[in-house]
Structures are given as C-alpha cells and as structure tokens.
C-alpha cells in the first residue's frame, strides 16, 4: 500500500491523565470534555477548509460519553484483545472522533492540527492502520454496522466479554446494508452489541423526512428484534443509562435525538452546516459560545 506519513502512537502522558480522570468522571466532567472536543472540531474544520462540522457537533456528546465513561479501552494499549470495540459508521464525522481520541490520549492533541493536511494520518475518514482507536475504515455509509456485528460475534465465539458499539447516522439508515446487519444481530441475539443512531434529522441536502422518511424509526428497530431506547443524545445521564448493557439479551438500539451543529447557535439545526466551513469570525464566535 502507499506509505503515508506515519502511524500515530499513544500520548502516554495524556493517556495516564485521562485514565485518572475517568475514575471520577461525572456529567460535569463529560460536559467539559465535550466542550473541548467541540472547540477542537471547529478549529480543525476551519484550518483544513473541509469537514462535516454539523454532524461532528451532533455526535460529540455520544462519543464523549462512550470514551469518557463507558468503553473499556486503553489508549496506551489500543489493540488489547478484550477491549470494547467502537465503530463510527458515519465515518465522515472523523473530526469529532479524532478530537475525542486525542482528548483520551490515543495520540497527541497536537496531531489534530494536521487534520486532512497532505500525508496526515488524520484523513477525512478514519483509517485503522494509521489511527489508534479506530477499528475499521469507514466512510462509505452502511459499512460499520455489519463489521460491528462481526466484532460482537467474535466476542461470543472467543468467550470474551467485551462489548461492541457502533454509531450510525440517521440518514445512513437509508443504506440497506444496515438492515441486513440488524437482522443478523437479532438472529444471533447479540446482547453484547449496541447500535446508537445519531438522530439529528438532517442529511446532506435536506431533512431525512424530506429525503426519505425514516419514521417510525423506533418501531423499525423493535420490529427487527432490538431492545430500543429513545433518548436525548445531548443528555449525559440519559446517554449513560442508554449505553448500559442489554437487559433482554437482545441487541440494543439507542435512538439518540440530537441537534446538528449542537453547541454553536448559528449552526444548530441548519442543513447548510452539514459540511460548510466557518469563517475566522464565525470560528471566534463559535469558540466563545463553546467556552461559556
């Protein structure tokens, strides 16, 4: 394969600090971490002149809750056999994932300045061979869920007790491969698998309702045999509760209702911020709002 600039490695100091912080993390701590991730995302997208800022900001609280409080992963040993698996199927929101991983010490936060720069490990979509903490290369939609099903099946076959989480975009659910994976997860009763839908109700060009209606979405997951939890995807208490293990032995689907562009007033719920790049002035305003 073509050689890239480098493969990133753990920032051991940051990883140790993160591990210590995790032992006493609470909702205020998650909120603080999320604000930091959001500030990084806004800055990264401005610097790169590219990025999917609206979805980055809608998924941030989900990522921060998982990495900040839920996932059993070790940034200093990111390929440990019994680690929890996390897959960002909506790979275009790599910016938010990179910022979250950097906050946890999977690699240095300094690397975020290379986001989408020539030869950077931080491509516009995540690459597991370059970025520790990434389990599979996503980008084309509808890929992450089947891979997550395979991860969950492997845990069962190997008698490992790790859990697998996959985050899906809501528009992404228009890809049929997700429903193939849902049937498999249900058939194999993968209670160790949690699929979280970042339900921000907007896709690239319009709302999901205008583009291709997803509702009744919870009913669909129920019909596919999932234990369904519908929550506010920006409420840490609800996120923590919803990411708890299955109580039924069936796979869990979390419909996390979110706001695209969350945290920056002029981006919130605006379809054009799917992948618009903020001006320097807008970045300044956004950082102010995210620093309160």
């Amino acid at each position: 394969m073509t050689e890239w600039l480098c493969m990133l490695t753990a920032d051991t100091t940051a990883a140790a600090e993160w591990a210590e912080r995790r032992t006493r993390i609470d909702e205020a701590g998650l909120e603080e971490m999320a604000a930091g991730v959001r500030r990084d995302v806004v800055t990264m997208v401005e610097r790169a002149g590219l990025g999917h800022i609206g979805g980055d900001l809608s998924v941030t609280d989900i990522l921060v809750t998982l990495f900040g409080a839920v996932l059993d992963v070790d940034p200093a040993d990111p390929t440990r056999a019994d680690r929890d698996r996390f897959i960002l199927s909506k790979g275009h929101c790599a910016g938010a994932l990179y910022a979250t991983l950097a906050h946890c010490g999977f690699f240095s936060r300094d690397e975020l300045t290379t986001f989408m720069a020539p030869l950077s490990a931080l491509n516009g979509h995540p690459n597991r061979t370059k970025v520790p903490g990434v389990e599979t290369n996503t980008g084309p939609l509808g890929h992450g869920f089947p891979v997550a099903v395979g991860c969950a099946l492997a845990a069962r076959l190997r008698a490992l007790d790790y859990r697998t989480f996959v985050v899906l975009g809501d528009g992404e659910l228009q890809e049929g491969s997700n429903w193939e994976a849902a049937m498999t997860a249900s058939h194999y009763e993968l209670g160790n698998l949690t699929a979280i839908v970042d339900r921000n109700r907007l896709q690239q060009g319009a709302s999901t309702a205008e583009t291709k209606e997803l509702e009744p979405l919870a009913d669909k997951w129920v019909a596919f045999g999932f234990e369904v939890r519908v929550i506010d995807g920006h409420d840490y208490a609800e996120l923590l509760e919803a990411t708890a293990p299955s109580t039924s032995g069936r796979p869990v689907a979390v419909i996390a209702n979110t706001i695209k562009g969350k945290g920056v007033s002029f981006m919130e719920d605006r379809v054009e911020w799917h992948h618009k790049v903020p001006s320097a002035e807008q970045v300044e305003l956004a950082i102010q709002e995210l620093t309160r």
């Binding site: 290369n137 395979g150 099946l153």
Partner: protein
C-alpha cells in the same frame, strides 16, 4: 519439470479440496470460522457446519453484511473464510471488499465459489467473469486462483498462514490433478508446468489443464510451447512473465473470465511497458449466450483447439 495429462485423467471439483482442507485446518486452529450467505451447500460447507456448528456463521442472503461481518470477525481475532458464489460475493459486496477488507487491511479470506461460467445455463447474472478484473483493481488484495485440488489445498493453507486480505477463487469446473504436492505456492511466483521456447501459454485456474492439452497439440505441430500456471493473478510473477517475453516469440493468456481486466490485461500491461511481444488474450468476451459451462468454454474458444490456434498465430 514437465507434467502430462493422461487422456483419461480423472477430474475433480476443487470445492471438495477446499472444504476438506478447511476442516482439517479448523481442527487444529480454533480461530478459523466460515461465514456464508445461505450458501452452505454451494460452498460445500455442510461438513464444516456439522463438525463446527458454532463456527459456521450464516448471515442469510445478504452479501454486504457477509463481508462486513467477516471483517468484524477478523477484528475480533478470528480467521474468517467468507464464502459465497463468486458473482454475488464480488459484485454485490465490492465496496465492502475494498473498504472493510482491503483498505482496512484485515485477515479475511474471501472465497469466490463457482466462478467464471461455472453456472452455465443460469446465465450472465450468475456468471462471475468480472471478479478477477474487479479484485485485481483493489490495492492490498491478493488474488489467488488454484488450478487443481493440490493447489487448492495449498491455497487454503497459505491463506491461514499469511495474514492479510485475500480473494481466493475456488474453481468448480472439473479439472485434473497437475500440480506436484511439493510445488511452492507464494505471491508473485508462477509454476512452470512445462518448458518450451517457441511460444508461451500463461493460464490460470481451470484453464491450466487446457493449456497443457494445447501444448501437446502444438508439439505435434512442431511448436514448443512453454506452459505457465499463474495462481497469483495479483501479485503477478513479473520475472517469469518477462522471461517468457524475452525467450519466446509471444504470449497467449487464458482465463475463465472477461478479457478486459484480468490475467491477460495484467500481463499485457507488464510486457508492453518492459518487453513488448505479440500477445493473444483468451477469455470470455462478453455476456454469454445460453449454454452449459463446457459449451460456453468451447463457444469462447477456451479449449485446446482455441488455445493452440492462438499460439499458431504467434509461433
């Protein structure tokens, strides 16, 4: 080293060798699992399922899910043999092959069953003539096509021992044994079936034994044909190809696949840049008409007569 086929040589379906070797290896290595798309029968996995019921994962008729699940199983530390009819495995799930397997650099063995025109009368929807072109175009994906049961067994063993993405095309059309048990199998290494210095026949999979038959006919016509079996369509044995280009008057390639991007196209690309020689690229030239597999191979000139005729044009 020269191998000759007895006129009445027994012929074999390579799927049996595939399935038996998989079971043999699975007994010794519990990481090996099989994943299929309701293809337990057509992938010859019934015996595997009976012996390892937990390790046969059937995702139903869902090829995108099939390949993604395979990548996830590899992520979880298992060695998945993802097995499906070649047209559906490669055609329906090509993006999963690219992103989840090759680009993600996972140890997934993609097993394309009943490739080429093996499904005969079922028609072009069920023929897998494009798979070699498609898989060869994907970076970081080895493409391996055994020519007989011996090479099929070696291929399955190689696939387990060598982590990385692999497309293993498992022939279904019956072929005779022609590879010695101790013949090496490794990427970028061809097998010289018989030497010759007038013209070279480079064949893959089910076409190797037909090339051997063609060489016999050419010998009777006073033409010495070198016969090369190229099990790895990617990466090619470039040294052997360029040696043939230098030492013989031309190269005939033969494959059970479309001529626009498979073995012949790969060899043409190589020799045209480094040592141009006349070539004839034999294969399937388009959507096939109705007919049995053997009828279709004759229809497209993929038999000893057709190969010998092409060689005559170069020798």
């Amino acid at each position: 080293m020269t191998f000759q086929l007895a006129p009445d040589a027994q012929t074999y379906d390579c799927r049996k060798a595939f399935a038996e070797t998989l079971i043999e290896l699975a007994r010794a290595d519990e990481r090996i699992v099989a994943v299929c798309n309701d293809s337990v029968g057509s992938s010859n996995l019934a015996a595997f399922r009976d012996e390892f019921p937990e390790r046969l994962i059937n995702v139903g008729i869902a090829e995108q899910d099939l390949v993604g699940v395979g990548a996830g199983l590899a992520n979880g530390g298992l060695i998945p043999f993802v097995s499906a009819a070649a047209p559906f495995l490669t055609g329906r799930a090509l993006e999963q092959i690219k992103a989840d397997v090759a680009y993600s650099d996972t140890h997934v063995i993609l097993c394309g069953q009943s490739p080429g025109v093996a499904y005969g009368e079922l028609g072009p929807t069920h023929h897998s003539i494009e798979d070699l072109s498609w898989t060869r175009a994907i970076d970081n994906l080895n493409v391996l096509v055994p020519a007989d049961p011996v090479q099929t067994r070696a291929a399955v063993r190689w696939a387990v021992a060598n982590p990385g993405p692999l497309y293993l095309r498992v022939p279904r059309l019956k072929v005779p044994e022609l590879t010695p048990e101790d013949a090496p199998l490794e990427p970028g290494r061809a097998v010289l079936v018989s030497d010759g210095d007038d013209v070279t026949l480079i064949a893959v999979g089910t076409m190797v034994s037909r090339a051997v038959d063609a060489a016999e006919r050419l010998r009777a016509d006073g033409i010495s044909a070198r016969v090369i079996n190229m099990p790895f369509v990617d990466p090619l044995d470039e040294a052997t190809v360029l040696g043939a280009a230098r030492e013989t008057r031309g190269i005939v390639t033969v494959e059970e696949g479309i001529v626009t991007g498979g073995l012949g196209a790969a060899i043409a690309s190589l020799v045209s840049q480094h040592h141009p020689v006349p070539m004839r690229i034999l294969g399937i030239t388009g959507f096939a008409p109705t007919g049995s597999a053997s009828y279709l191979l004759d229809h497209f000139g993929l038999n000893a007569d057709g190969i010998a005729a092409a060689a005559h044009e170069l020798a």
